[in-house]
C-alpha cells in the first residue's frame, strides 16, 4: 500500500480539506517533496566541497522556499516548519553568517535526509515523527550553534532514548529491503483471480437468495401440514423437526451472507494490493543504469558520472519494463556521442568527468523521464548542412526550419535509420526505435540541445497507460470492455417474444435501477449473431445522465486494463475509445459509452455532461501539482468550475480556447512565468480585462508592485487559504 501509516491521517488545523482530500494531497506532496529534496541534495553536492556556487545557493533557497509554501498549502504544518528552519540555515549561508565547508555540506545533506524522511511520514505525529523532529532540531542547532534550540531538542531526543535505531535510519532501511522480482504475467493472473472472486461472491449471494426461498417454501409446507392437522400423533414430531431444520437453515443463510461480505472485503484488499504492486518507483529502473553507464564509459575511454533524480516517482510497471531498453539506448548515445573525449573537455574548460543526469518527474497526468548530458551538444547549423548534403532536405526547407525543427529531424524515422546523417551528427542512431517505443506507450520523445553545453532527450509517457477499471463481456465470441465508471449493474433477461421479431425476442426497454431503460441489442450493433433464446445477460450503463441496457452473451467480469490507442488510422472510429491487450495477447476493443448512448437515443443531440450551476470558470496555473489540486478543491467547493495547468504557456493556450472568468496563477513556472503570462493577457484585446490573482511563495513587495502595475486583483502568499482566495475572486 502506498501509505503504510494511512490509519493515522490527521487533519490540518483549519479543516480546509476533508480526510480523503487531505490524504490525496498528502500523497501528491510526498512525491513532489521527494523530487524537490532530491534536487536540493543534488544542488548541495554539485559544486566542489570547498566553495558554494552563489547561483546554486539561490537556486537552493528558491527550491526550499517553494517547498515550504507547498507544504503549507496542503496543510502539512509540521513539515512547513521544518523546511522553514532549514531555509533559515541556507539564508545564513548566503548572508555569510555561516561558512561553507565540506562538514557544513555533509551536515546539510543529513538535514535534507531527515526532511525527506519527515516528508515521507506526512502529518503523522507518532514516535517516528517526534524522533525525526528531535534529530532535525539537533542537527540544525549543531550547525548554527544555537544552544537554546539544542537544549530543547536534546530534551526531546532524551525522551526517546529508548528508541535504539534512529527513525531516519529505519526509514532508509525500509527502502533497502530486498525486492522480489515478479513476472507481471503472474500478477495479471492474480488480478484475474480477484475478478473471479467478485463473481464468486455474486454467486454466493444468489445461492443465499435461493436458500431463503427454499426456507420460505418449507415454511409453507409446514403450515399446510399444521392445517391438515388430524388425529395422528406422529405429525407433531414431524412439525417439531421441521421447525428445527427451518431455524438451522435460516441461521445458515445469515452466516453465508456474512461470509460473502468478508469475501468482498478480502477481494477489495487483494485488488488494491495488486494494483499497488504494479506501480514501481523509478529508483528500481535507475538502479540498473549505473553499472551500464560505467561499462559504456570504460568502453569509450571516457569518464562519466551518472546522477539520478526523482527516484521516488511512481509509474506503472509495464511502462517501466517497456522503456528500459529505450533508456539504455539514450544513455549509450549520450556516452558515445554526447560526452566529449577528455582532451576536448579540458580544452573547453569543462571538468574531465562528464555528467549524465537521468531524472523522472510527474507532470500533470504524465511521467517525464529525461536523459541529459553536459557534452558537446548538437550544432543545428552543422545538422542543417548534413540534412541538405545528404539530400534529405532541400536547401529551402533547411533555411525555413528553426533550430527546434532541425533537432526534431533527428527523431524522424526516415532520417535516423542506418543513415549517415546520424553517424555524422552523432546522435540519431536508433533514436527511431526509442521514439517508436515511446509512441507505442502513447507518449512523446522530445530533444533539446545547447551547443557546447549538452543535449537532453525527454520521454513523456502517459500515466494512463497504467490501469483503468473496466467491465469485460463477450459478444459474438469476442471480448469487449466498457469503462467501469459507467456501469450501474448487470441484469439477466429472458427472451419472450418470437425470436424473429428483429429484437431476438427481447423487449425495447428493461427494468433497471428502479425504472425502465432502453435496451440496445449490442449483438446487432457489433454485427454478431443474435443471442440464443433463453437467458440473456445485459449491462446497464449510465453516461451523462442517460441510462441504457446492452445485451451480451456472457459477463466476463471486472478487470483492470491497460488502455491503448487504436492508432492514427482507426482512432476516429466513433464506437471505440481504444483497445486493450488480453493476457493471451488478443486485442479487446473498448466501447465508447457516448457512442452507445447515441445508439439508444438516436434522436437526441450528442449527449453532454450535465452542466453544473457554476459560480464561474477559473483557470489555475501552478507548476506544483499539490498546490494546483489544493486551490482547485477550494474553488470547486465554492461552486467554481476549475481547470488547472502546470505552466504559463499551457495557461495561455487554454485561455485562447475557452472562456474563463478569472485566472489564478503562480509566478515561477516552467515554459512561461506568471509575469510574462499576464503581460501577454494585457496585450490581448479579448483578455486584457481578465481578473488575475497571483498565488506565489515569492509574494515580495517588489513582486506586488509589478503585479499592481499589471492590474492584478491581488497577490497572495503561499500557503494560501480558501478564504483569501475566495475573497480575491469575489466581484467587488
Amino acid at each position: 500500500m502506498s501509505g503504510g501509516d494511512d490509519g493515522a491521517v490527521s487533519r490540518p488545523a483549519d479543516d480546509s480539506f476533508n480526510t480523503s482530500e487531505y490524504r490525496a494531497l498528502r500523497a501528491l506532496f510526498r512525491d513532489e517533496s521527494q523530487e524537490a529534496l532530491d534536487q536540493v541534495t543534488h544542488l548541495l553536492l554539485r559544486g566542489p566541497a570547498e566553495a558554494m556556487d552563489p547561483a546554486a545557493l539561490s537556486e537552493l533557497l528558491r527550491a526550499t522556499h517553494s517547498l515550504k509554501g507547498t507544504a503549507g498549502t496542503v496543510g502539512l504544518r509540521a513539515f512547513a516548519d521544518a523546511a522553514h528552519r532549514f531555509e533559515g540555515v541556507v539564508e545564513k549561508l548566503r548572508a555569510g553568517a555561516l561558512s561553507w565547508s565540506a562538514d557544513t555540506r555533509d551536515a546539510l545533506v543529513e538535514i535534507v535526509d531527515c526532511l525527506r524522511a519527515r516528508a515521507a511520514l506526512g502529518e503523522d505525529e507518532g514516535q517516528e515523527a517526534a524522533a525525526l523532529g528531535a534529530q532535525l532540531d539537533d542537527k540544525l542547532a549543531a550547525l548554527t550553534g544555537d544552544p537554546a534550540a539544542a537544549g530543547a531538542a536534546s530534551a526531546a531526543a532524551e525522551a526517546l532514548a529508548s528508541e535504539p535505531v534512529s527513525a531516519a535510519y529505519r526509514l532508509a532501511r525500509r527502502d533497502e529491503r530486498a525486492l522480489l522480482r515478479v513476472d507481471p504475467v503472474r500478477i495479471d493472473r492474480l488480478m484475474d483471480s480477484v475478478g473471479e472472486l467478485v463473481f464468486d461472491r455474486t454467486r454466493i449471494e444468489r445461492r443465499v437468495t435461493e436458500l431463503r426461498s427454499a426456507v420460505a417454501e418449507l415454511g409453507r409446507v409446514g403450515a399446510a401440514l399444521r392445517a391438515a392437522d388430524g388425529a395422528r400423533g406422529r405429525l407433531e414430531e414431524v412439525e417439531h423437526d421441521l421447525d428445527e431444520q427451518l431455524g438451522r437453515l435460516e441461521q445458515l443463510g445469515r452466516e453465508l451472507l456474512e461470509d460473502a461480505s468478508a469475501l468482498r472485503r478480502t477481494g477489495n484488499a487483494l485488488q488494491d494490493g495488486l494494483t499497488d504492486i504494479r506501480m514501481q518507483t523509478s529508483r528500481t529502473l535507475f538502479q540498473r543504469l549505473a553499472p551500464q553507464v560505467r561499462a559504456l564509459a570504460r568502453a569509450a575511454g571516457k569518464s562519466v558520472r551518472l546522477v539520478t533524480l526523482g527516484g521516488e516517482t511512481e509509474f506503472d510497471k509495464s511502462v517501466a519494463d517497456q522503456i528500459g531498453d529505450a533508456l539504455v539506448h539514450l544513455l549509450r548515445n549520450a556516452v558515445a556521442h554526447g560526452i566529449e573525449p577528455r582532451e576536448a573537455r579540458r580544452a573547453r574548460g569543462k571538468p574531465e568527468e562528464g555528467q549524465i543526469t537521468v531524472s523522472a518527474r510527474h507532470e500533470q497526468q504524465t511521467v517525464v523521464i529525461e536523459v541529459a548530458d553536459d557534452g558537446a551538444g548538437i550544432d543545428p547549423a552543422l545538422l542543417r548542412r548534413r540534412l541538405v548534403d545528404s539530400g534529405r532536405w532541400s536547401a529551402a526547407q533547411a533555411g525555413l526550419a528553426d533550430d527546434g525543427e532541425v533537432l526534431r529531424a533527428l527523431l524522424d524515422a526516415r532520417l535516423s535509420s542506418r543513415d549517415e546523417v546520424d553517424e555524422l551528427a552523432g546522435r540519431g542512431i536508433g533514436l527511431d526505435a526509442v521514439r517508436v517505443t515511446v509512441a507505442q506507450l502513447g507518449g512523446e520523445l522530445a530533444v533539446s540541445s545547447s551547443p557546447g553545453a549538452g543535449t537532453s532527450f525527454a520521454m513523456r509517457l502517459p500515466l494512463t497507460t497504467a490501469v483503468s477499471n473496466a467491465l469485460l463481456f463477450k459478444v459474438g465470441g469476442y471480448v469487449y470492455a466498457i469503462p467501469h465508471a459507467h456501469v450501474l449493474e448487470t441484469v439477466e433477461l429472458e427472451t419472450a417474444g418470437p425470436a424473429d421479431d428483429g429484437r431476438a425476442g427481447l423487449p425495447d426497454r428493461v427494468r433497471a435501477q428502479g425504472g425502465t431503460v432502453p435496451l440496445v441489442l449490442l449483438h446487432a450493433a457489433l454485427g454478431a449473431a443474435p443471442p440464443r433464446p433463453g437467458r440473456v445477460p445485459a449491462v446497464i450503463i449510465d453516461y451523462a445522465s442517460r441510462r441504457l441496457g446492452l445485451t451480451c452473451d456472457k459477463i466476463v467480469g471486472p478487470r483492470e486494463i491497460v488502455v491503448k490507442s487504436l492508432g492514427p488510422l482507426l482512432g476516429s472510429l466513433p464506437l471505440y475509445v481504444g483497445g486493450t491487450i488480453s493476457g493471451s495477447g488478443k486485442v479487446q476493443l473498448i466501447l465508447d459509452p457516448a457512442a452507445l448512448v447515441r445508439l439508444a437515443y438516436p434522436d437526441a443531440a450528442a449527449p453532454r455532461a450535465p452542466r453544473l450551476r457554476s459560480a464561474g470558470r477559473v483557470l489555475v496555473a501552478d507548476d506544483s501539482r499539490s498546490v494546483r489540486e489544493a486551490i482547485a478543491l477550494h474553488l470547486e467547493r465554492a461552486g467554481y468550475q476549475v481547470d488547472a495547468v502546470a505552466s504559463g504557456l499551457s495557461a495561455w493556450r487554454m485561455l485562447g480556447r475557452a472562456h474563463y472568468d478569472a485566472l489564478v496563477t503562480d509566478l515561477e513556472m516552467p515554459e512561461m512565468g506568471g509575469v510574462e503570462l499576464i503581460e501577454r493577457l494585457r496585450a490581448d484585446p479579448g483578455l486584457a480585462h481578465l481578473p488575475v490573482v497571483i498565488v506565489s511563495s515569492r509574494a515580495t513587495d517588489a513582486a506586488r508592485a509589478r503585479a499592481r502595475a499589471l492590474g492584478v486583483v491581488d497577490v497572495l502568499g503561499k500557503p494560501v487559504s480558501a478564504d483569501s482566495l475566495l475573497a480575491a475572486l469575489r466581484p467587488p
Binding site: A413, Q440, Y478, A525, L569, P574, G578, I581, K586, V587
Partner: protein, 151 residues
C-alpha cells in the same frame, strides 16, 4: 533503382517499395472491428501496440463486388508499412521475393517479377490516406447511421 518486396494476395501479385516496409510478420489472433470500413480487416496485437490490418483488394477496388468480405485471421502473413506516424499491416497470402526495379520500370503501376508474372506496384502513402478517408466517412454523428451493421 528501387528495392521492392513482391507478394501475392489471392491470385494477384503486388510489389511495395522496401522503404515503406518496417517488417514482414505472421498475424497473431485477429480481432474484427465492427463498424469499420470494409478495408479494415481487423486489428492485431503487434508488440504491445494495436495495429490495424488492411485489405488491399478492397482498398484498390479489385475485390469482386458483392463478394463476402473476408476477415483476416491469425497465421496469415502481413507486411507492416509505415508512412510518417501512420502504421498498418497489409495482409498477404505470401511473400514472393525481394527484387530490384530497373529504371525503365520506375513510376509505372505494372511491373514484371523474376518469374515473368506481372505485379502491381502499390503506393502506401495513397493507400493509407484512402484508408483514413474511409474511416473518417464511417464517423457520422450516429454510428451506423448510414450503414447497416456488417455480418
Amino acid at each position: 533503382m528501387r528495392n521492392v518486396i513482391v507478394f501475392a494476395l489471392g491470385q494477384a501479385r503486388y510489389a511495395v517499395e522496401l522503404r515503406w516496409v518496417r517488417e514482414v510478420f505472421t498475424l497473431g489472433p485477429v480481432t474484427p472491428v465492427a463498424r469499420a470500413p470494409d478495408a479494415v480487416a481487423g486489428v492485431v496485437n503487434y508488440r504491445g501496440a494495436i495495429m490495424p490490418i488492411l485489405d488491399l483488394a478492397v482498398l484498390l477496388g479489385t475485390a469482386p463486388p458483392g463478394a463476402e468480405r473476408a476477415s483476416a485471421h491469425g497465421g496469415e502473413g502481413a507486411i507492416l508499412v509505415q508512412v510518417e506516424d501512420v502504421r498498418a499491416a497489409l495482409r498477404v497470402s505470401s511473400v514472393v521475393e525481394v527484387a530490384t526495379l530497373r529504371a525503365e520500370e520506375d513510376g509505372v503501376g505494372g511491373l514484371v517479377d523474376s518469374t515473368g508474372r506481372s505485379a502491381t506496384l502499390i503506393d502506401p502513402p495513397a493507400l493509407l490516406e484512402r484508408a483514413r478517408a474511409a474511416v473518417r466517412s464511417e464517423s457520422p454523428a450516429a454510428p451506423g447511421g448510414a450503414r447497416g451493421s456488417r455480418p
